[in-house]
């Protein structure tokens, strides 16, 4: 996976530019609100999936509580505007920084004590629960009632009349996430991170500091998740403890990344699109049935883990390896 030559790296970079340029033109090609909404939500799903992918896919640290960073970004974005009088554009870096800080805090605690695998997953979930209960209990989050960001529609306030504005904003974040992921695949830091994921002791033996590498990964991952939270608040102008720190955002992030293919550049994009097409399809089939989306997500997750542990992106990548894995499963 590290064997990407520089020419293939350049090809990937060109592909990213092409993808971003194409998506950026969507608002010029259609005025359909439904289409724009679909693209915007798919991009948003891509963003949270890429965030999870940085830590889970490249770092091998599976978080079950990514909502922790999402919710922190969302609350900081809302509170900075409502109680601090900060402009929404200026609140954005605050939200991102706060989420990254929470990531560094949880990472410092977890990785300092060598948490791995299932334990790390459960601890992130427990942290998200703690934050949810605190958000329910303290006054400045509005408790269970939540926070309603006042409507002040203008680009200067990061509130747009049409979906196009939001689409471009989230596209900018997705572009940044794709570039960071590209860097992880081609740069030195990414090589360290994947080395730590594949064999921590071996990585340490060649001079990599696993603690620092994992810490940087969770900070980066948290920053993108915080951006997604802030974006959510700007679009829906509402946040409450359940939305912010509840399980569904954590699940959406990890399912999209795993379905698409962990540790790959395009996997999370693919996963986010596939899941959104699936949800649209089921909505047409069953109507607005609360929960049906999550049933699909859960079922897809189980099926992918059983039949395609490397995700959709893994199909073309290694049909042969897959067969070999199947043959060797009954050890």
């Amino acid at each position: 996976m590290n064997g990407a030559t520089s020419s293939s790296g350049e090809r990937q970079l060109a592909l990213i530019v092409l993808f971003v340029a194409l998506v950026a033109c969507v608002p010029f090609a259609t005025a359909s609100g439904a289409t724009l909404n679909f693209v915007m939500m798919a991009l948003y799903a891509t963003l949270i999936a890429q965030s999870w992918n940085i830590l889970g896919g490249f770092g091998g640290q599976f978080s079950f509580g990514h909502a922790l960073f999402f919710g922190t970004g969302a609350y900081v974005q809302a509170i900075a505007q409502m109680q601090g009088g900060v402009n929404a554009w200026l609140a954005l870096p605050l939200a991102i920084a706060a989420a990254a800080l929470v990531g560094l805090f949880v990472g410092a605690l977890s990785f300092r004590y060598g948490l791995k695998g299932s334990y790390f997953a459960l601890v992130t979930l427990a942290f998200a629960e703690v934050f949810r209960i605190v958000a329910l209990s303290v006054p400045f989050t509005g408790g269970g009632v939540g926070l309603m960001v006042p409507l002040r529609e203008s680009a200067a306030n990061l509130q747009f009349a049409s979906r196009s504005g939001y689409l471009w904003v989230v596209l900018a974040f997705v572009t940044a996430a794709l570039l960071v992921t590209w860097w992880l695949r081609n740069g030195r830091f990414g090589a360290w991170l994947q080395a730590v994921r594949d064999n921590e002791d071996a990585a340490r033996a060649v001079g990599v500091n696993p603690f620092r590498v994992k810490l940087a990964a969770i900070g980066l991952s948290g920053a993108f998740m915080g951006a997604a939270g802030a974006f959510y608040v700007q679009v829906f102008q509402y946040i409450d403890p359940g939305i912010a720190y509840g399980g569904s955002t954590s699940v959406e992030a990890l399912v999209a990344a795993i379905v698409g293919g962990m540790g790959t550049l395009w996997g999370p994009v693919l996963g986010a699109i596939v899941l959104h097409v699936l949800s649209d399809f089921t909505r047409n089939l069953f109507g607005e049935l609360p929960g049906i989306n999550m049933v699909i997500y859960g079922a897809v997750l189980v099926l992918i883990v059983i039949f395609l542990p490397r995700g959709i992106a893994g199909i073309g990548l290694s049909v042969r390896q897959l067969w070999a894995a199947k043959g060797g499963r009954h050890d």
Binding site: S118, M294, L301
Partner: protein, 290 residues
């Protein structure tokens, strides 16, 4: 603040809740001890069991305590099937894959419940739901006392199965030395599925004891998942005694936390314990460091 008349009922209440927690945690720790996997769907499975007991009462008029064998058998079958059909195919040699598969199963269970049973919180009415008895200065609800005794009896039954029966011996053999057990002619896949089945059967029993004094809705399992993990980690993964002691401890902590910090903030105590134990003493109280 530390008035005995307030403290004592709260501790007693915590102990009765803790007994049911212990039963739930025993199921989780059995599955972990034998299969070395974390069943994230444990809470969602408990939710299904609660609905099962609820409908047995509402549709067929079967009292929850009489429904015990039905609930346990039903949950055993669910566990046996899940392990045989889904979970044993998901591992590919990595623990995380099992965790993801059981996460997927729990999401499916919870949201199917949401679709079919709606998000309403339901509870049942029995003749004894509201009756209480006095123990010293404390008034304890009869269903809580029954659940306390019942959970202990079922736990004792589990201990007996594990220590005295051929099945228990096979389970312990597989847990200790899988390859060796296989060479001795033990059907490992069958033992795995039996262990998973017994683990979920504990939930069937817990559901029967819980429901008369509790409620059910599609999200009810979520709260129990982390509580059960906390107990299991606290007691040492795979340790039966640890699960029992941990169950009582967490029940009391939750009760006292609720008393002094209020209902919602009181829950934090459990998560803080969980994070603290995982970080600083992952081998738990009774486990040996791996």
């Amino acid at each position: 603040m530390f008035d005995f008349g307030i403290l004592f009922p709260s501790v007693l209440n915590g102990l009765t809740t803790g007994a049911v927690y212990a039963l739930i945690a025993l199921g989780l720790t059995l599955i972990y001890g034998v299969l070395h996997i974390i069943n994230f769907a444990h809470g969602a499975s408990l939710m299904l069991a609660l609905y099962g007991v609820y409908f047995l009462k509402e549709r067929l008029g079967i009292d929850p305590y009489l429904a015990l064998p039905i609930a346990m058998a039903g949950m055993f079958a669910l566990g046996y099937g899940l392990q045989r059909i889904v979970i044993n195919r998901a591992g590919h040699g990595k623990d995380e894959n099992i965790l993801l598969a059981t996460l997927g199963i729990s999401i499916v269970m919870e949201n199917l419940a949401l679709i079919f049973f709606k998000s309403d919180t339901r509870n049942i009415d029995t003749a004894y739901s509201l009756s209480t008895v006095a123990i010293g200065p404390a008034m304890i609800a009869v269903p809580k006392l029954v659940s306390f005794a019942g959970a202990l009896v079922v736990s004792a039954l589990l201990f007996w199965i594990m220590s005295r029966t051929d099945l228990g011996r096979a389970i312990r053999a597989v847990a200790k030395e899988k390859e060796g057990a296989k060479l001795m002619g033990i059907d490992v896949e069958h033992v795995y599925a039996m262990s998973f089945g017994i683990g979920l059967a504990c939930l069937g029993a817990a559901a029967c004891f819980l429901l008369p004094a509790y409620y059910v809705n599609p999200q009810v399992g979520g709260g129990f998942v982390l509580v059960a993990f906390t107990i299991v980690v606290l007691g040492g993964m795979g340790s039966f005694v640890g699960a029992l002691v941990g169950g009582f401890l967490v029940g009391v902590v939750e009760s006292l936390g609720g008393l002094y910090l209020g209902e919602s903030l009181g829950q934090i105590g459990i998560f803080v314990i969980f994070i603290g134990v995982v970080l600083f003493r992952p081998e738990g109280m009774f486990g040996a460091r791996a």
